[in-house]
Structures are given as structure tokens and as C-alpha cells.
């Protein structure tokens, strides 16, 4: 059964429809890139998938035993404050909150999971550093580690490489692909960079206030849409 199934979704702000006719589904282990121009409804769809915005019509079904508290999320960086005193460890550990249920404090297992995820992303040696004093690439790794603490099943990433330099961008993409392959964690990523999207993703969802394309990356490469957006390339 599919992990997420969206049927005839539409979203509206103050009665104005910004996104309509979205129907797609992904299975466990998929890597879906959501592409499209600014204002095409990518972030709105992500808010819908996260349960932060209710659809104007249509349904989002979680299947395959996926619960709403088992989704990891990497927000766009701009949403976090600049002068917040928090250590890397504190930030990563806070990802475990959704698995606590009614428990009040983090237990040994939570702390172990936080340490493991920091080690996997190579940030364990900066665990006591202040989050705000890190470079952009390191900050994104911290947020990715936090998202991994929140899930083994599905990661939602909102433009995870915005503002990173080319080296950090590449590292970030590789890490995400690695998590996707090693843990069979599904990835849904909003991306500005259509070339990179086509390189890493298994599926592409192209939005333009409605669903312009959904299918595998191979199918996408063959489509007229891709030819226009990715550019002539081999054509």
C-alpha cells in the first residue's frame, strides 16, 4: 500500500484557489521532488502534507502504517531566528519530541538516537556548539539530524540547499540520497534546482498551480515539460 495518497487535492487562501487537481501517491522508499516556479503552490502542498493547512477539497491518506507523528521535516532556513541560544545537541534532541507520547522528559533511548544521527551526519564533534554560530551547511545538517530523529519513514524537505555554497549543496544532496537508500526512508523534497532534482529523485511532481506532471524521473525526462524546463540538453 502507498505511504501517502493524495486525491483531487486543492488548496485555497481566503477563498482564492492556489493549487488544484493534485492526485499522486508514493510508496515507501520513494524520492519525490516537487518542482515548479515561485508561487506555483509547492510550499502550500507541503504544508498540506504536514497537516499545517487543511485542503479546500480532496483527501490526503497516510498508508503503510505511517502516522502523522512519524514524519520528519526540514523547514526553510529563514523561519528560524537568528539569535537563538541553543546547542546543536538540544536542537537535534528536540526532534524526538513526537515519539515521546505522554512522557515528560527525554530518556536514554532518545539521547542515543540523537547521538547516532549526529554521528551519521558528522556533526557529533560540534554537539555543544551554539547552533547560530555554525555555517549554513552545518546548520542544515543539524536540522536534517533533527528531522531524522523524528522519523525513520518519511522526510519532508523544503528547499534544503537554499543559501548553501556549491560544496555544501552537493554534500547535502548526497546525504539525503544516502539516507533514502540506506534506511529506505521516503523523501519528499521541494526543489528549485530542476537539474539536481532529476539527478537524485525517483519521482517528479511538477506544479504550476495545478498538477502539470507526476511520474517517474525517467518518464519526466521524456516529457515536453521537462524539455522546456530542464532545457534542451541532449535534444
Amino acid at each position: 500500500m502507498a505511504q501517502i495518497t493524495c486525491k483531487n487535492l486543492s488548496f485555497a487562501y481566503d477563498g482564492q484557489t492556489v493549487l488544484s487537481d493534485i492526485s499522486f501517491s508514493i510508496d515507501a522508499g520513494a524520492y519525490l521532488c516537487i518542482v515548479g516556479e515561485n508561487g506555483s503552490g509547492k510550499s502550500t502542498l507541503m504544508k498540506g502534507l504536514l497537516g499545517l493547512k487543511s485542503p479546500a477539497s480532496g483527501t490526503i491518506e497516510l498508508g503503510d502504517g505511517l502516522k502523522h507523528t512519524e514524519i520528519g521535516y526540514l523547514p526553510q532556513q529563514t523561519q528560524i531566528q537568528r539569535d537563538f541560544p541553543a546547542s546543536v545537541y538540544e536542537v537535534v534532541l528536540s526532534g524526538r519530541l513526537n515519539s515521546m507520547g505522554g512522557r515528560l522528559f527525554y530518556n536514554t533511548e532518545d539521547k542515543k538516537a540523537a547521538m547516532e544521527n549526529m554521528e551519521r551526519l558528522g556533526i557529533e564533534d560540534i554537539k555543544d556548539k551554539c547552533y547560530m554560530e555554525l555555517s549554513g551547511g552545518q546548520q542544515q545538517r543539524v536540522l536534517l539530524a533533527r528531522a531524522m530523529c523524528a522519523t525513520k519513514k518519511l522526510l519532508l524537505l523544503d528547499e534544503p540547499v537554499t543559501g548553501l555554497d556549491p560544496v555544501a549543496t552537493n554534500e547535502m544532496y548526497n546525504l539525503i540520497k544516502l539516507i533514502n537508500l540506506c534506511d529506505n526512508t521516503s523523501v519528499i523534497m521541494i526543489s528549485h534546482d530542476i537539474h539536481e532534482a532529476v539527478r537524485y529523485a525517483t519521482h517528479i511532481l511538477h506544479l504550476g498551480n495545478r498538477q502539470l506532471f507526476f511520474g517517474t524521473t525517467a518518464q519526466y525526462r521524456e516529457s515536453d515539460l521537462a524539455r522546456r524546463f530542464v532545457g534542451g540538453g541532449r535534444a
Partner: protein, 272 residues
């Protein structure tokens, strides 16, 4: 110094005020960290003005001041959150709106009944003498509840303060914990304003957090440092006010300013 403290504490009203004050300073410092970081610094100020209005009404109709003020200020805290979330009126404007309205109502009620007397001045600038035995017991009980809740909800308060969107996206009700923070702040403001005064209570909330943020680099360190700074400043301020016969609220704030400057200086030196 020890002798002086001993002498101060031998007065019953003084020891009562210090116990209540230390507890309220702790509450204010802990909540302050979250409020400052969430850009809600002015909420303490707004709520204290509502508290002033409530106290004026309580005096006019002759009911126990805290018993009336606590629920009214909690209601105001709810209203503030509601208004600032509805986005038609922004948070800072909402606070200004409610606080000035409450102040106007308070002043009107006062001038229609007792007139501007020392009571009013005590509400405005605080007085340790205004704390009755019953008030003290209630204050101690309520501030213990605030402290307990803060400690028990600490991981959630951190998550909601650091990144509300992430917390909501992963299934933590940010709204619920925002409400908890606002209610706890409301209670703390009412408890503290008798001693600190309606005009000065918000400093008890803001200063320790800002001071600690000059030097500390993790949330836990900021919280612990704020608690210590707050209590120390309060006790030193009260001692100064006793020795120099200054108003208690103002002395505490002055000490807080000095500590803030010292921390800023150390922070600036460390960063260079």
C-alpha cells in the same frame, strides 16, 4: 552583609516579601527566556497594565485583589494570543491596545472611587508592604505551580520556542504550549506586580533572559543563568531598598540593569 540580611529577615513582612519575591523572580526568569525568544517581550508589560486595571476594580468593589486579578489577567492573556493569531491586528499593536485600555479603565475606576492615593502609587511602583499574609500564601502556592509546570514541560517549551513550525509539523500542538506559556506569564505578572509595580514587573521577565543571552550559548544554560541572575538581583535589590530606603521595584530593576551591562561588557570582550 550576613548581619544585615539577618536584621532584614527578622522583620516578618520583609522575610515574607523575600520568599515570595524569590519565587516570583524564578518564575519570571524562566518564562522570560521563552517570551524574549518568541518576540513576546512586551506581553508582560501589557498584562501588567491589565493587572493594574483589575486591582483598581478589586479595590473599588472590595474583593481580595489577587483573587480577582489572576483570572482577569489570564483572560487577557488568552485574548492577546487570539488577537495576534487572527493577524488582522498584529501582536504588538494588540498588546498596546489592550494595555492602554486596561490602564484607562483602571485610572477611571480609581478616580471615581478612592481617588489617586498611596494605594494607586503602590500598584504603579510596587511596595513590599502591600503583601498581606493571605496574598503571600496564595503567591507561594501559585509560583510553585508555575515552576513545576515549567520544569515538567521543559522539552516541549524548548521545541515550541525554537521552531514552532517544526513542532506543529511533527505533531506537537504549538498552540497548546503557547497558551500554557501565556497563562503562566499572566499568573507570574499578577504575583510580581504587587511588589515590583505594574510599570516595572516586565523588567523582571525580560532582563534576566537578555542578560544571560550575552554570555550563554545553549538554551539550558540561558535558563539556568537567568534563574540565578534573577534571584541574585532580586535579593540584592531588596537589600539596597531596605538600606537606602528606596522603592523595592526600582531598586531591583537598577541592579538588573547593572548586571546586564556587566554581562554585555564581558560578552563583547569575549567576542573580540
Amino acid at each position: 552583609m550576613i548581619e544585615l540580611l539577618g536584621e532584614m529577615l527578622s522583620y516578618h513582612f520583609m522575610s515574607r516579601a523575600i520568599i515570595v519575591g524569590v519565587l516570583v523572580s524564578l518564575c519570571a526568569a524562566l518564562l522570560g527566556v521563552s517570551l524574549v525568544l518568541k518576540r513576546f517581550s512586551m506581553i508582560g508589560d501589557g498584562l501588567s497594565h491589565v493587572g493594574f486595571g483589575a486591582l483598581a476594580i478589586a479595590a473599588a468593589v472590595n474583593v481580595a485583589p489577587l483573587a480577582l486579578a489572576v483570572p482577569i489577567v489570564i483572560a487577557a492573556a488568552f485574548l492577546l494570543l487570539r488577537i495576534s493569531q487572527s493577524s488582522r491586528i498584529k501582536g504588538d499593536a494588540a498588546i498596546a491596545l489592550i494595555s492602554s485600555s486596561a490602564l484607562a479603565i483602571g485610572v477611571t475606576v480609581v478616580s471615581m472611587t478612592t481617588g489617586m492615593n498611596t494605594d494607586v502609587s503602590n500598584y504603579m511602583f510596587g511596595s513590599i508592604l502591600s503583601l498581606s499574609e493571605a496574598d503571600a500564601v496564595l503567591s507561594i502556592a501559585l509560583s510553585c505551580i508555575v515552576l513545576l509546570l515549567f520544569v515538567l514541560l521543559y522539552p516541549r517549551i524548548f521545541a515550541v520556542t525554537f521552531d514552532e513550525t517544526f513542532a506543529m509539523a511533527t505533531g506537537t500542538s504549538a498552540q497548546r504550549y503557547n497558551t500554557v506559556i501565556a497563562v503562566l506569564t499572566a499568573v507570574t505578572v499578577v504575583l510580581g506586580m504587587r511588589m515590583m509595580g505594574a510599570l516595572l514587573i516586565s523588567s523582571l521577565i525580560i532582563f534576566p533572559a537578555l542578560t544571560s543571552m550575552r554570555l550563554c550559548r545553549s538554551f539550558k544554560a540561558v535558563v539556568l543563568c537567568s534563574a540565578i541572575v534573577s534571584v541574585v538581583c532580586f535579593v540584592v535589590g531588596m537589600t539596597l531598598s531596605y538600606v537606602l530606603e528606596l522603592p523595592s521595584g526600582a531598586s531591583v530593576v537598577i541592579v538588573n540593569i547593572l548586571v546586564f551591562l556587566v554581562f554585555s561588557l564581558i560578552g563583547a570582550i569575549k567576542n573580540h
